[in-house]
């Protein structure tokens, strides 16, 4: 029993790392742009499919797809922001963005279904099925890889947001667009790049996802609820909060899975969501901003 719990805990931490990566983009859009990006998981799977293509057509390691997909997604993000999001009226941006991105998600799903058909695809690498055994606890390599990729991406992301000139101008743009223009920031460009960075995380996330789970065009629906729950629990818009919440929920899920069952484990996400709302509507780690939006 103890070893089972340990195993659940270890897996939870690793999975939580992945969740953190997947949720970080969402948190970013919201934190810096007040956009609820329902299409994020759809982009994740678009990334997964591209990885699949690179892997099957060129026979490359999935991670070698990143130099292609990351810039591609960045550009895509810039385009989505500049061409679509930027046209929304600011008064009800949060609401309208949900619907807009919902439309985008459907569009992507439809396109994936058309080009790749509805069947399952998966990318499996030899190293992805082996595992490291520490003190009787098995740590699958694919999860370890996912965890580290997630961690590195998050650290880079965070550094960019907090420290770089770009991060500063991004935040300034969100908070007061006119004032940002008046200090010399190219606000449209910056907002576009911000979105691009968010989508770039989806490219990384997609690759990792492709490696550890099979997928089909409608797979993204499953993730919306989970990721949304994570970012609310973490405090909307807080990238760090989302990361912490992701690990927390990953662990809870893992433990509940090994002790109770899968239905309850998934349910934990929503239980925590409602708990978070009742106890701290701004999220466990959220700032003051949360409940204003």
């Amino acid at each position: 029993m103890v070893s089972l719990l340990l195993q659940g805990l270890a897996l939870g931490v690793l999975t939580g790392g992945l969740y953190a990566l997947l949720a970080s983009g969402l948190s970013l859009y919201f934190g810096v742009m007040r956009v609820v990006m329902v299409a994020h998981p759809a982009f994740l799977f678009l990334g997964a499919y591209l990885t699949y293509t690179v892997h099957t057509v060129f026979g490359l390691d999935p991670f070698l797809a990143l130099p292609v997909t990351v810039p591609l997604f960045f550009v895509l993000g810039v385009a989505v922001q500049r061409l679509l999001i930027a046209r929304l009226a600011p008064e009800n941006l949060a609401m309208m963005s949900v619907l807009l991105t919902f439309g985008i998600a459907l569009t992507i799903e439809g396109l994936l279904g058309t080009f790749y058909t509805g069947s399952y695809k998966s990318v499996s690498m030899e190293y992805a099925t082996r595992s490291l055994t520490v003190a009787g606890v098995h740590l699958p390599y694919d999860k370890i890889i996912a965890f580290w990729v997630a961690a590195i991406t998050l650290v880079v992301l965070f550094a960019v947001l907090v420290k770089s000139r770009f991060g500063q101008s991004l935040r300034a743009t969100i908070q007061h667009r006119e004032a940002a223009r008046l200090v010399g920031i190219h606000t449209e460009r910056v907002a576009g790049y911000g979105f691009g960075v968010g989508l770039a995380t989806a490219a990384v996330g997609g690759t990792v996802l492709a490696l550890i789970t099979p997928f089909f065009p409608a797979s993204h629906w499953v993730w919306i609820g989970k990721l949304m729950a994570i970012i609310v629990v973490g405090g909307l818009g807080s990238v760090i909060g989302a990361a912490l919440a992701a690990v927390l929920l990953g662990v809870v899920e893992g433990l509940v899975l090994v002790t109770v069952d899968a239905t309850w484990a998934t349910m934990m996400f929503y239980v925590f969501l409602f708990l978070a709302l009742l106890v701290r509507p701004q999220g466990f780690f959220g700032g003051r901003l949360a409940h204003r939006f």
Binding site: R181, L182, G184
Partner: protein, 242 residues
């Protein structure tokens, strides 16, 4: 004195709605404070937005230091020495005071110069120094205004547009702001000021313009305007009864 900033026969409005500015002409010279007064909704703020490039006029021209800058982006105008403090609150709420002020010098790459400016600004506005690490959005209304002011002065601008800078400021801070304006004038900066605290503003300004419905109705030396009884009744309010 040479003209630094001028709006010539500007027509402008928002979206497809009716015009707000209908043929506005205003001129500001170096070392001069021009004060725009007028009722709420007259188009004063709109005039400043046109001048700083936030809003592109539908017709007319904007000249900065003799150069036609109509339609240029605020970023470009900033480079040409123009600075604009918006009406209301425009601090970056979720950033610290420090970050706000630093962003004022966003276009400055020279760290030493930036740091020197920061010191100067901190001296001018003690609150800024005191609350250096706080989130700007948590400051009181008046404190935020001072942060904005500090931010705008980071670049040592040659032309400053101020939109109701004293709004919400307590008397002491209002004095600080007016002293600053005076200081800028003396160092040769041109100031285009919008104020509802009209009597006070006209007292210190060089030129006054009465703006209503998108046009300048009366222009003249500020002190004379202040004394104009007709104007007093319509725009400046009666002397407060005691």
């Amino acid at each position: 004195m040479n003209t630094v900033l001028s709006l010539e026969d500007v027509e402008a409005g928002y979206g497809r709605a009716a015009l707000v500015l209908r043929g506005l002409t205003v001129t500001v010279r170096a070392g001069e404070v021009v004060c725009l007064v007028g009722p709420n909704g007259a188009g004063k703020s709109t005039a400043l937005k046109v001048a700083s490039g936030l809003l592109t006029p539908r017709s007319g021209r904007v000249l900065l230091a003799g150069q036609d800058v109509t339609g240029l982006s605020p970023q470009r105008l900033l480079g040409l020495g123009l600075s604009h403090v918006l009406q209301g609150h425009s601090v970056f709420r979720e950033m610290t005071v420090a970050e706000n002020v630093r962003l004022g010098g966003f276009t400055v790459r020279d760290q030493a110069r930036l740091n020197a400016r920061i010191e100067t600004v901190k001296e001018l506005f003690p609150v800024v120094a005191e609350r250096w690490g706080s989130m700007a959005g948590l400051l009181s209304g008046g404190q935020q205004k001072q942060v904005e002011f500090a931010r705008a002065l980071m670049l040592e601008p040659k032309v400053v547009l101020l939109d109701e800078p004293s709004m919400g400021l307590d008397p002491r801070n209002t004095q600080v702001v007016f002293d600053q304006i005076d200081l800028m004038r003396r160092t040769g900066v041109a100031v285009l000021l919008v104020e509802q605290n009209a009597r006070r503003a006209l007292e210190m300004a060089d030129v006054g313009c009465v703006l209503d419905l998108g046009r300048v109705h009366i222009t003249g030396p500020a002190r004379e305007l202040a004394a104009d009884p007709r104007l007093g009744k319509l725009y400046l309010g009666g002397a407060p009864a005691t």
